[in-house]
Amino acid sequence: MRRRALLGTALLAAPALAQAAPRVVVIGGGFGGATAARALHRLGFAVTLVERNATYLSCPFSNAVIAGLREMEAQRFGYEGLRREGIAVEQQEARAIEDRRVVLADGGALPFDRLVMAPGISLRPDAIPGLDTEAMPHAWRAGPQTLLLRRQLEAMEDGGLVVLSAPANPYRCPPGPYERASLIAHYLKARKPRSKLILLDEKDAFSKQKLFEEAWAALYPGLLEWVPLSSGGKVVEVDAAARVVRTEFGEHQAAVASIIPPQAAGRIAQAAGLTDRSGWCPVDPVSFESRQRPGIHLIGDAIIAGAMPKSAFAANAQARVCAEAVAALLRGEAPAPPKLINTCYSLVEPGYGISIAGVYRPANGLLADVPGAGGVSPLGAPAATRAAEAGYAEDWFRTITADAFG
């Protein structure tokens, strides 16, 4: 009721607003932000996208770059498509979110009627004492770190120990560390067969676990070892220069180590007071409006989305729902409760794909699983099924990047 009254006042006080198209600013040009900008533009708004980088490097499929199965340039997407459609793209950093305007790095400001933020994640390497991300790359944001880890693997002598770590929930891309372990194991098996890989995990269970374990037993026996929390998998500190990784119960002398630190919402979200004590952004699951600051919507990896994982597909789905919600709110209407879909493909070797799908709807203030919907690839499936899923993964990548970047 209060919101409706406020909206009514705003419209009466500013009749000019009724003529001009409402201004919507989107911060962040990843899968969520780029999709949101296009969807809002299609709904007739004047949209400005603020993104500090000239191009975007996709995290999905970047594990294949690490393993030498794909080149980085295949991960790169630009914003020409958005510009062609008439979306203004401001290539600079957003510095602060003031009342109804975004302050930019060059001192300029963008006024908005509604703001959509897709700030992604920030990494917290300081949470692991001794961690130096140049010596032990996380490669959890596609870019120089991805290529650094690839070069370290290429330079490693046969017989070396590769140590990977997976953080506690929540973090970006729940199956990502396990796909990474699989594809690096594939690389070692082909190129450095006397080497070994240990995956230290701060959890006792993970996404698509049975499917990964089935594949590891078949493809990488004796090569890939998963160490869960209850077997001492939690990394407590590292000696980055000596490449030593210490867990609660022992230590590993690595030749190459990739430590994925704990994460939180992107820095701009923290600076703007949009995060809670968890470090992530609480939002309304119908409108994706911040619970901390009205008028600001958040999507993608930065939000507390309940059962919905932090994935490119989820960010893309949330972006489209959020755009409709923003449109409804600017018309003075209540947004309709959405249903959202997520699918995640993982490769365990070239031509061997597995997937998980879920359907989500708002319940008790969060996004909850719709029981009986979604599911995972079957266990014990024939090679043709795995090959087909690897193909679907490629199709998915082409589709979602076309949807986000045009």
Binding site: D204, L229, S230, S231, G232, E248, F249, G250
Partner: protein, 106 residues
């Protein structure tokens, strides 16, 4: 035999405070949870943990149903003399398991 993990230094200086970490792989079944057949799964938890240092109790803990599976305990001990540390977990259904580690104090 449940799998246990114990981490302490092999050697310490006299008077040094050392950190000991222990973990036992145990279901810690609460006794309140219905199984797939709808019947409540009987309680099966570790109820007590002790650490004896040369037969003297230096640390103990009471464990309750709300404690998660695979209980992890971390505590400190003053390294007084060389000897044996004995770690014992005991609980429901007559469960009892003891592991020992030696510590050299210089």
């Amino acid at each position: 035999m449940a799998r246990t993990l114990i981490n302490l230094p092999r050697t310490a200086r006299r008077g040094e405070v050392i950190e000991i970490r222990t973990l036992i792989q145990h279901v810690m079944e609460t006794g309140y949870r219905p199984g797939a057949d709808g019947v409540v799964v009987p309680r099966d938890i570790v109820t007590r943990f002790t650490c004896l240092y040369n037969n003297e109790e230096v640390f103990s803990a009471e464990l309750a149903p709300a404690i998660a599976a695979n209980p992890f305990l971390s505590f400190s001990v003053v390294a007084a003399e060389s000897g044996i540390l004995a770690f014992t977990w005991s609980g429901d259904n007559g469960f009892e398991q003891t592991e020992t580690r030696s510590l050299t104090v210089t």
